[in-house]
């Protein structure tokens, strides 16, 4: 199910490689800093973690709610980004903002580490 149309979204992309240059495998999980957001129509949006799985090229592309939606009660918020590669424990990078001012997409390489 898609997010309500009055919510700004952004496509977060990223390419992960091993130090040898091979595509990495694993997941990237985005966990909002709030548990619930409410849009202007009164819809309660469960702000659950979103997990993106790296494809065979080590690439992710995930559409997320922008962290500065003025139509959302609970915003601004941030995402904690947890990167788990090649079966290794995840590394978490909290406090990441993806405001709509970044445009329609943003590469994680500009936000991490």
């Amino acid at each position: 199910m898609a997010l309500p149309g009055n919510i700004n979204t952004i496509t977060v992309t990223g390419t992960f490689l091993t130090p040898a240059g091979a595509p990495a495998s694993g997941t990237v999980t985005f966990t909002p800093s709030v548990s619930t957001l409410i849009d202007s129509a009164g819809h309660a949006i469960l702000a659950a973690p979103v997990t993106a799985t790296l494809n065979s090229s080590g690439v992710i592309s995930e559409v997320l709610a922008c962290t500065d939606n003025t139509t959302l009660t609970g915003a601004p918020f941030t995402y904690s980004v947890a990167v788990a590669l090649n079966g290794q424990p995840a590394s978490a990078y909290p406090g990441k903002s993806v405001p709509h001012t970044l445009g329609s997409s943003v590469n994680l390489a500009t936000l991490l580490p």
Binding site: F16, T18, P19, G58, Q88
Partner: protein
Amino acid sequence: MSLPGDIAVITLTGTYIDMVGNARTGSVTFTPSTPLLVDTSSSTMLGGLTVTVALNASGAFSVVLPCTSGLTPTGWSWNVVETVSGAAPRTYSIALPSTLGSTVDISTLTPLATPGTPSLYLLASQLGTASGPAQLNSSGYLPISEGGTGATTAAGALAALGVPSITTASVYTQRAFAV
């Protein structure tokens, strides 16, 4: 797939032999000291994953590794673990800046210093200040201010602190030490 062309790499080599010249067997692992490295030019992220190379029949290895300069965060290093026959595993860290050239032998590198246990210092000027650290006296007692207990005598201070009546307790009048 290979690393983006703008990421500087270096070929690291090494040879392990015993005291009579026989090739040793084993492997060497290299792990970045940080879990994620970012190449801002190509917007590519490198996982801090372990690279393992096995020693060949001559006891040698050759591996291409990203240089420790040019990727963010700055200041990262390679953690090296040598697991070689006839010797206990050896662990240390190295820097591989691009200034070393296109290839370097591991025997020419100097392991980075291991950070020691940090020391905790107290400002002498803060000793005895309100809410500051207290100092034991030469007998190992904590000097107690009678005034700080609301008492005016040593016996009164003991009573205020709930110390049973004893005759050998030492109570020092040093108002610099707040209770």
